[in-house]
């Protein structure tokens, strides 16, 4: 296990390094420059050039990258060119916000989706299965901002039960924060439910159809024992992999939801950084999201091994 972890961490660092180079290079190719972004379309070219010079944004790409990378290795993620504050001062709160939303969405979405998939698999071919499947597909097909607007209209404006934005006052209590996070988390739950439920359903169907499940039934074990002890841990293996990827999405991919609910998560922050060509902030942000992805997939792989002895034993051999 230790060798496995070290190998994964090593590969992860290489991945992050390559990611930073790719993001930096691609961002440099994009049109625009930070001076023009800050001063606007009507500023004179002289003013724009002067500001780019002040910010060091007119230096060669390699110089800018090495400057940033040198600091990043020492834990300094650089200074945001547009805000002129340390990048971590912006990334930290955004990451914290994304974590809170991802956590609430996770505890809403994952158990519900798995439950839906399990029920669907157990009632394969029947009305319950069809209802859950069709509902799941329909929800997944709807863009997240459409779902979000619908929920805002119903629960925020017409019924007035929940706040329409996910922004609470500083110092708000946990229940208040949860109240503000409920609508965006519900939006994400509706969007992700169909996908996770279908993967779980497929796993359940395959596991229920397997020889070991049939043997367990023929041994006379009650149905719930068969499902709990034999079927579930095999059926959920693909679900774990899918959930791990979705957690990564919950951290960095929620630009539309963050926009709609005015939530300053890391997705919106990185989008703004990309639009303004704020390279230190953009690269640092992508690195942070990349790290989250790597950690989450590592945890998923470990969980996979815990649940599946074949993988543990295969690795040992």
């Amino acid at each position: 296990m230790a060798r496995f972890l070290l190998k994964r961490i090593g590969l992860g660092l290489v991945t992050l390094f390559l990611l930073s180079i790719i993001v930096f290079s691609v961002a440099m190719i994009l049109p625009g420059n930070v001076g023009r972004s800050v001063l606007g379309g009507f500023a004179t070219q002289e003013s724009v050039d002067a500001l780019n010079e002040e910010l060091g944004a007119n230096r060669p790409m390699v110089v800018q990258y090495l400057d940033w990378a040198g600091g990043a290795i020492q834990g300094d993620l650089g200074t945001s060119l547009t805000s002129q504050v340390p990048a971590w001062d912006l990334l930290g709160p955004a990451l914290s916000n994304s974590f809170k939303l991802a956590f609430v969405a996770f505890i809403l979405c994952v158990p519900l989706s798995i439950l839906g998939g399990v029920i669907s698999g157990l009632r394969y071919g029947r009305a319950t299965d069809r209802s859950i499947t069709i509902a799941g597909i329909s929800f997944s097909a709807m863009p997240d901002f459409v779902t979000g607007i619908f929920l805002i209209l119903v629960f925020g404006i017409w019924l007035g039960w929940l706040p329409v934005t996910a922004q609470w006052d500083d110092g708000a209590s946990i229940p208040t924060q949860l109240q503000h996070l409920l609508l965006p988390a519900l939006t994400l739950t509706i969007v992700l439910f169909g996908y996770i439920a279908r993967i779980t359903r497929a796993g359940m169907i395959e596991a229920l159809d397997s020889d070991y499940a049939r043997t367990a039934y023929l041994k006379g074990l009650p149905s719930d024992v068969v499902v709990r002890r034999h079927v579930l841990r095999n059926a959920l293996l693909p679900t774990i992999a899918v959930v791990a990827v979705q957690i990564g999405y919950l951290f960095g991919g929620l630009v539309a939801v963050e926009f709609l609910f005015n939530y300053r998560g890391i997705g919106a922050l990185i989008l703004d950084a990309a639009k303004a060509k704020d390279l230190p902030l953009l690269t640092s942000g992508v690195l942070v999201i990349g790290t989250v992805y790597l950690v989450v997939t590592l945890i998923a792989d470990i969980l996979y091994a815990v649940l599946n002895p074949r993988i543990r034993l295969g690795a040992a051999e």
């Binding site: 420059n33 805002i152 709609l260």
Partner: protein, 562 residues
């Protein structure tokens, strides 16, 4: 008019009034100016309210109540304001976006204030006087004003601030063409003298909030460009910043020693929104009391709704369809006039802006400017004439692209023009870019002036914000040397009239010049300006005494909550 009034007026004219003031009075008495225009001009020359009232009585016009009717609200409470987030800086000299200037303009203030009716009012300056040729302007600074850090405002603060805005190479203030750092000096504690590079008859407008970068900072902070935000955004405004979380939220508290009187509200809670759609939702859901600005489409749910107040303030903001006069398919003025004649302007205004605006006449001279001659004939749709002009120009199968960027409803505006053009046989293709591409050199690093799309494409559609006077539009968009001259219009006669207008301090001279410029622009039609845009926003009906300023500033000094 009584004898006493005449005596006072004669005394004033003989002892205090200079040539410009006397000409202004002659214009008033001679019927060249109506009451509102006179008040606007008088305020520009720094005449006191008492003198204005005296002169109006002298001319037989009643001096009506100055203040807007005040509707009672309660003292206290916090207003929740939604402002669009911004990508740039809050440092005054770098201000650029609506959200940043709206927020910076809460703690920060300016020497003068241009109101929505085009009148320049005292703010941190109480009065101002030009010399005979309007090349030197002397401002008296308001006494007893305290910054939020307790320091008293003096002329040195004004000088230090203004010098920053013309000295910094990256400054966005646009004041450098008007004066040098050495051209603004203090004379004593409360007098500031501006020595201008050329005559400017309307200079007080140019140091109002319409130059939104020109916030007056404490001298010690102004001496270190880029330190205003770190220092706590110290200004003289009715509210001071207590806390600010970058692009998320801010809390402002009442400035109890505000020079304009103690504001009714205890404070302001600002939330920055990543777009206007979340602002609309938050206002509808009761999480906001006031929105910074909305598009006409976004304002619709708040119209005729008793829970909300809808505002539509006419402004000089407008969109320019600039057509290359020096090359390409639009270089023939007959073709450009034909396109302008194809537009049904009232229909265009109703279609694109839902009526929130005023008809334009292919010039930058908004009807609300005092210097606009309203006798200039309004261009109207005339399809037959448009077609004959195209035939005469041999351009019956004309095709070209109209380039714009993905801002608000520019795409809708372009599509509407495309539809009108089709009626006379012109085929317009629409190209919508991202702002970073539209306003930057193409390719990156190339010469900006000759490659940036918004200044070089065959036809472009660009929006210009509101101003109190048309000077910026004239000098930068239409004069041969203008750096925003996207149509590459070069007309020596127009330039001469523009220079005459810029130097003129009397209304009659300004109107003669704008009338002449209008005639040239209608003949040559380098630009189509089919409408001027009203500033639209909304608030909860609990908000009292809010008056939108028209350029995104949010003025809350007199606002209260029901």
């Amino acid at each position: 008019m009584d004898r006493e009034t005449r005596r006072h007026v004669d005394e004033y004219r003989g002892s205090e009034a200079g040539p410009l003031e006397n000409t202004l009075i002659d214009d008033l008495v001679g019927g060249e100016l109506n009451r509102q225009e006179f008040i606007a001009r008088a305020s520009m020359f720094g005449l006191s309210l008492g003198t204005v009232g005296l002169l109006l009585r002298h001319a037989g016009m009643e001096d009506l109540a100055q203040a807007a009717p005040q509707v009672a609200g309660k003292v206290g409470g916090t207003i929740r304001v939604g402002i669009t987030a911004f990508g740039g800086s809050l440092e005054p000299y770098l201000l650029n976006e609506g959200g940043s200037l709206a927020f910076a303009g809460m703690p920060g203030e300016y020497l003068t204030f241009t109101n929505p009716q085009g009148r320049v009012l005292p703010a941190l300056a109480t009065s101002w006087k030009p010399n005979a040729d309007a090349t030197v302007w002397t401002f008296q600074i308001r006494r007893g004003v305290k910054f939020h850090n307790g320091k008293t405002l003096t002329a040195q603060d004004v000088v230090a601030s203004m010098r920053q805005y013309v000295r910094e190479k990256s400054s966005n203030a646009g004041l450098t063409p008007y004066f040098d750092p050495a051209g603004v000096t203090a004379r004593g504690q409360y007098t500031v003298v501006f020595r201008l590079k050329s005559p400017i008859g309307v200079f007080p407008y140019l140091v109002s909030q319409t130059t939104y970068q020109a916030i007056i900072q404490p001298a010690a902070i102004a001496a270190q460009p880029g330190s205003w935000v770190k220092a706590g955004m110290i200004g003289t405004g009715p509210f001071r910043v207590r806390s600010y979380v970058d692009k998320k939220s801010a809390v402002l508290v009442r400035n109890d020693s505000y020079w304009g009187g103690r504001p009714p509200l205890d404070g302001v809670r600002v939330t920055f929104y990543q777009g206007s759609a979340p602002i609309v939702l938050a206002l509808r859901g009761g999480q906001l009391d006031l929105a910074m600005q909305l598009s006409p489409q976004e304002g619709q749910p708040f119209k005729n709704n008793s829970r909300f107040t809808y505002y539509a303030q006419p402004t000089s903001a407008h969109r320019q369809v600039c057509m290359r006069t020096d090359q390409g398919p639009l270089r023939d003025p007959r073709v450009r006039r034909a396109l302008a004649l194809a537009i049904n302007r009232p229909q265009q205004l109703a279609r694109v802006m839902l009526g929130a605006g005023q008809i334009g006449n292919d010039t930058p001279f908004w009807r609300g400017f005092v210097s606009t001659d309203r006798a200039v004939q309004q261009r109207t749709q005339n399809l037959n004439l448009a077609r004959s002009l195209l035939r005469a120009a041999g351009a019956e199968d004309l095709k070209f692209n109209l380039t714009t960027w993905n801002f608000l409803d520019h795409g809708d505006h372009a599509a509407s023009l495309q539809a009108y053009a089709r009626e006379i046989g012109i085929d317009i293709g629409i190209e919508v870019m991202d702002s970073s591409r539209y306003y930057d050199a193409e390719p990156a690093g190339a010469d900006y002036a000759t490659t940036t799309p918004w200044l070089n494409r065959t036809a472009t559609l660009t929006e210009y914000g509101a101003r109190g006077v048309p000077n910026v539009y004239v000098t930068r968009c239409y004069m041969s040397t203008g750096d925003w001259n996207a149509s590459h219009y070069k007309n020596a006669a127009f330039d001469a009239q523009a220079r005459t207008y810029l130097a003129a301090a009397e209304v009659a001279a300004q109107r003669r010049a704008t009338k002449a410029m209008s005639g040239l622009l209608l003949r040559d039609t380098p630009v189509i300006t089919d409408y001027f845009i009203s500033y639209v926003t909304a608030s909860s009906s609990k908000v009292r005494n809010y008056v939108p300023e028209g350029l995104s500033h949010i003025r809350l000094a007199k606002v209260s909550m029901a």
